[in-house]
Subunit: 278 residues, 2 copies
């Protein structure tokens, strides 16, 4: 078997589907967004997004998104670089339900998945579709995995497009091991629980060498950093990546002992990726 999905068009654009068993179905393109959403500054789109990605996005007319308003704003930015084939008014945007925004695609310990198959109706009718998140890669640290899963169930080919991912940029820039790493999402908000989690992550990182990545809601970043410096051992490496790809981006990796020699306050609006390792 060569594939159950067709080949992605070599130039990344949305062309006629190649000859295969799914030729009557549309494809699901995973369209990344820049990381500047809700930030003060905007990145020039072509600086962080390949032309192939922008071309593919500009060809589509059917979307699944978190928020139709911001998705339209993004499409306007795309239009300025690669004109849209369909006007903003002609775009069909479906929003993921609020429960998926809030609780994610997999809610509860049982991991029950939101059934997104009905959202893919246009693809079953032959239309290429785009899945887009508010920032970065859809379905990574963001909703959308349930849509991708539904596409596989319906044998709709999935084509991921290249774009920015704050997690990967932060990991590469951390100097911590990229040979083995884990992203663990958000830490608990409750103080003692958070301390316990930080200790557990440090234990894993030091014992196995697996870099541990996590994020926090921006306005809680300083509190998390304080908790990290209070809890972690002096020789543990802590990496903080703030606003990557933005004009105010910065990145620091140092031992906890070194971090403690300076008072650090993190901006309340800038997304940060934290990593600990040995």
């Amino acid at each position: 078997m060569k594939a159950s999905s067709p080949a992605a068009a070599k130039d990344g654009t949305v062309s006629a589907a190649s000859t295969n068993q799914h030729q009557t179905k549309g494809r699901l393109f995973l369209v990344p967004a820049p990381l500047d959403f809700a930030c003060d500054t905007q990145t020039a789109l072509q600086d962080v997004m390949p032309l192939g990605t922008l071309k593919a996005a500009s060809s589509l007319a059917y979307w699944i998104c978190e928020n139709a308003k911001t998705a339209r704003a993004y499409l306007k930015r795309v239009h300025d670089v690669t004109p849209l084939k369909h006007t903003i008014q002609e775009q069909h945007l479906q929003e993921l339900p609020r429960e998926v925004h809030k609780k994610g695609d997999f809610s509860g310990v049982s991991g029950a998945v939101f059934d997104a198959r009905h959202l893919l109706e246009p693809a079953l009718k032959g239309h290429d579709m785009g899945l887009i998140s508010e920032a970065g890669m859809p379905a990574i640290a963001d909703p959308g995995a349930s849509v991708v899963r539904a596409a596989h169930q319906l044998h709709i080919p999935v084509v991921p497009l290249v774009g920015p991912s704050s997690l990967l940029l932060a990991l590469a820039a951390s100097g911590l091991s990229g040979q083995q790493f884990a992203f663990v999402g958000y830490l608990p908000q409750d103080g003692p629980e958070r301390t316990q989690k930080i200790k557990a992550l440090e234990h894993t990182a030091l014992q196995t060498g697996q870099t541990q990545l996590f994020i926090e809601t921006p306005y809680r970043n300083t509190a998390l950093l304080t908790a990290l410096l209070q809890t972690l051992q002096g020789q543990t490496l802590l990496s903080v990546s703030a606003g990557l790809t933005l004009s105010n981006a910065w990145q620091r990796s140092a031992t906890v002992k070194e971090w403690k020699t300076q008072t650090v306050e993190l901006d309340k609006h800038t997304p940060v990726v934290f990593a600990i390792g040995r």
Copy 2:
């Protein structure tokens, strides 16, 4: 504290360093490469690489790479899109030592790190430098983390640039959870050891919901897939992403039970990312 590293230039190009304590030092740019290395087909560079990344790469004259010959070949491809400021002959390329290629930046259980500080001499003298791997993001599932770590030790600003990462593309396209995931590198080659490792990864994925990603040398991909289908439980989800961003790319996610209904042989030369989850 706002930053110990300066802001990255908003347009991603290599401009004069902003006014800060490190203004006399160059920066270390992490320059991604396309995923088509050693593959039959080549991707159009601007389809997978943002213009900002290519502009930054074309401005540099000092490099740290795995292999000078392939790095030069890549720079020639960059030149065709964004002309190099310095000729290929003028480029200074330093290769990572063979031990780092073979064993990685962190060798041994103790996690001793290769000391790469001497490679950053040009940055200490004020030259911007580029770190580049053979495919994808440097320092992720590839050598380079020791160079990034050395840069942090020397207070050389690190600027990661956007580009393709097969791991992230595979994860997004898998439909498995992107809220928590781990990349565990290569599995053991030895049969019984590999079986044990597969069972352990499946246990983690099913119990915690943490998606487990791993890779294999392409010519062993079919053997690994066979082992996975023999070892995993019928309801476990297995995702195979082959040659992402290449013209022959395909992606399939299904339960092990579904995988077993078809005979699958993986191409001996195409890189594959495997993932298991629930």
